[in-house]
């Protein structure tokens, strides 16, 4: 029998080993406990699961295909598959969690939802779920991200959501989360905060993971089918907060023989402030309600981060990832902005799939590493499509990419 890994689950206080927990001001303890109870009840309720399944299949487009990337495979000498979350409604995995949480908010009797967003994908997903279920929605977004993800800002507005620009701190994802938490602490009576990754105080890291775990469950069945009953050798996914990665990995955690690699944003360089690679230079600290690996200076001040992809531009990582890494079950690597951009082009040209810049990080690592593993089978979590990134990549590359269509 294949070797098994004993999968750790969050305990009652939300601890994954020494990570996780609930590091929030007293005022948020009651809402966080209310959410924990409501989620536990919903999870145990077959009608909630049925309703969510219905939305995922008839509205969001699940199951998503597992596509064999034939030209890349031939070039790299390994069998490479793509788990196509980019084909979901709204263009990324984020809709799995947004539908789950907005459905839960309705059950809790909340009349308003709020969210933060970095790349805009979680904002669009939440705005979409809110429109579908008839709840008003406010999305907080750093002004730097508003600039580089303008298309998604307009999409949210079309969906009837109010987008609030956040001008404090580094004006990116972490500051948007600060602002959403401030809104929540003042308005929790009627408002649910739809947190967009496996971050924040318990129960969020576990709840958001549960909503994305469908990615890995589908992948397991699909892979067995095409691989004659076998499992893939390696799964690779990009890691911002870590929701698409844990969603892909979770159904495979017990299978100790399946290698799991998360890819972080290496940015421009390894210098502080120039990347968002938390494993390595990260220290154990507390940010946004959870104890995890955090990029901070000696004084405990959170460091600015940089990534070409807004969705990976965040100084902390989900506590479950930190724990799995500490246990040696998962491993985290990084690729640079330039490698991600090259992969963005490579997947577009070789497979006819324009990936999100976030997802391009996972592709880039595989482009770098696959030749060292001839004959192996690799699944890449393709968390999103790249439409949102086309204007900023064109701008970065001096509009050369647009030469054919301009004028």
């Amino acid at each position: 029998m294949a070797e098994k890994f004993v999968v750790p689950e969050a305990d009652a206080s939300g601890r994954f080993g020494e990570f996780g927990g609930r590091f929030v001001p007293e005022t948020l303890m009651a809402p966080v406990e209310e959410l924990t109870r409501a989620y536990a009840k919903a999870r145990a309720d077959a009608s909630f699961r049925r309703e969510l399944h219905e939305l995922l299949t008839t509205y969001a487009g699940r199951p998503t295909p597992l596509t064999e990337a034939r030209r890349l495979s031939a070039e790299l000498g390994a069998r490479i598959f793509l788990k196509r979350e980019d084909l979901l409604h709204t263009g990324a995995h984020k809709i799995n969690n947004a539908l789950g949480q907005v459905l839960l908010a309705k059950r809790m009797g909340k009349s308003r939802v709020i969210a933060e967003t970095g790349a805009g994908q979680h904002g669009v997903a939440t705005a979409t779920a809110a429109a579908l279920m008839g709840l008003p929605c406010v999305v907080y977004m750093g002004s730097v991200d508003i600039e580089r993800q303008a298309l998604n800002v307009y999409r949210m507005r079309l969906l009837g959501t109010k987008v609030v620009a956040v001008e404090s701190g580094s004006k990116t994802l972490k500051d948007a989360i600060n602002e959403a938490m401030r809104d929540w602490v003042a308005n929790y009576g009627d408002t649910h905060y739809v947190l967009g990754s496996v971050l924040g105080p318990h129960p969020y890291p576990r709840m958001v993971r549960d909503f994305h775990a469908v990615i890995g469950r589908e992948t397991r069945l699909q892979a067995r089918k095409v691989l004659g009953g076998k499992l893939p050798d390696l799964l690779v996914a990009c890691v911002g907060g870590g929701s698409n990665a844990i969603g892909l990995f979770h159904a495979f955690l017990a299978d100790a023989g399946v290698e799991l690699v998360g890819v972080e944003a290496g940015g421009r360089s390894a210098a502080p402030g120039e990347h968002a690679a938390r494993f390595g230079p990260g220290r154990v600290g507390v940010l946004h309600g959870t104890r995890t690996l955090v990029l901070a200076d000696d004084d405990g001040q959170i460091l600015p981060t940089h990534s070409v992809s807004a969705g990976l531009d965040y100084p902390a990582v989900g506590p479950e990832h930190a724990n799995l890494a500490a246990l040696g079950r998962t491993r985290y690597e990084s690729v640079t902005d330039d490698e991600a951009l090259a992969a963005f082009h490579a997947l577009s040209e070789k497979e006819g799939i324009i990936p999100a810049l976030e997802s391009a990080h996972a592709v880039a690592w595989v482009l770098r590493e696959a030749r060292k593993r001839p004959g192996s089978t690799i699944v890449i979590g393709l968390s999103g499509r790249g439409d949102k990134d086309v204007p900023s990549v064109a701008r970065l590359e001096g509009l050369e990419g647009l030469a054919g269509v301009a004028s």
């Binding site: 007293e26 303890m29 009651a30 809402p31 701190g169 602490v185 003042a186 000696d298 004084d299 001040q301």
Partner: protein, 269 residues
């Protein structure tokens, strides 16, 4: 348990008034200004000073204290610098109790035990870490108590009786009741139901003094809270007075002291 905080509440009770607790951000706009500020606050009538330790991501704070925190960090303030400042102030004869008020990450970066011993050596009297609720702050609280520092915890309108009891057991010096849901900032009113909240908390925390803060900014609000609580906390209003003075080219210390004098005059019952 340096005793300074307990003595401050005993004295204000004897004088039939609430203790005035004044929050200022250390290092806003510079540590030199804070150095002059501490004795001026005491002289103007602050019974306890809550000294904010700046943090890059202050989720419990509204715009006024966020800006103060950003100014302080931009001026290079670090936790060690704040502790040195308190040590210098004590050497200069400062006797007002000082409670450090901040967020978990800078404390964890220093190490909980190192923080406690350095703070005690510097002459700090207590600490309140906003994002360390009782569940996560139990060990920290006993570390503080072991070094003769008072751990101060928050209670909120949403805290059930069970949590009031736990906070009563872990806290020393006083407990801090958040007057309303939300972040720090200036508000015009005193929330409805505050008197019931305070008496519910008093019943649950034994003999510990109960202070009320968040949104209290005018002498009228101070007077209203002084009738029901043992202490009143004013923060954003003082921070804004200093910000306004700096913008107008005036002395922020004088502006803070003038406001504190007016607030102190309103603490009688």
């Amino acid at each position: 348990m340096s005793g300074r905080i307990a003595r401050a509440f005993t004295r204000s009770a004897r004088e039939r008034r609430a203790a005035l607790i004044v929050f200022v951000e250390a290092g806003d706009p510079s540590l030199e200004v804070t150095q002059r500020l501490l004795p001026a606050l005491a002289e103007a009538g602050a019974d306890v000073v809550e000294l904010g330790v700046p943090f890059s991501d202050p989720i419990a704070d509204g715009p006024a204290i966020q800006r103060a925190s950003e100014r302080s960090l931009a001026a290079g303030t670090r936790l060690t610098g704040v502790l040195d400042l308190v040590a210098r102030a004590r050497a200069g004869g400062l006797d007002v109790p000082v409670v450090l008020f901040g967020y978990a990450n800078p404390v964890l970066a220093m190490g909980e035990a190192a923080f406690a011993s350095h703070a005690a050596e510097a002459g700090v009297d207590g600490a309140l870490v906003t994002d360390l609720p009782p569940e996560e702050g139990q060990a920290f609280a006993s570390t503080l108590r072991a070094t003769r520092l008072d751990p101060v915890f928050l209670l909120a309108p949403t805290s059930p009786p069970r949590r009031v009891k736990i906070v009563g057991r872990l806290s020393r010096g006083f407990v801090y009741v958040v007057s309303r849901p939300g972040v720090t900032g200036v508000r015009a009113d005193v929330p409805e139901g505050l008197a019931e909240l305070v008496s519910r908390v008093k019943a649950g925390v034994g003999r510990l003094p109960v202070a009320v803060g968040f949104g209290i900014s005018s002498p009228e609000q101070v007077a209203a809270v002084a009738r029901i609580a043992d202490g009143v906390v004013v923060g954003s209003a003082v921070v804004l007075a200093m910000e306004g003075a700096v913008a107008a080219g005036e002395d922020p210390v004088a502006a803070a002291a003038a406001l504190v004098r007016r607030l102190a005059a309103a603490t009688g019952r």
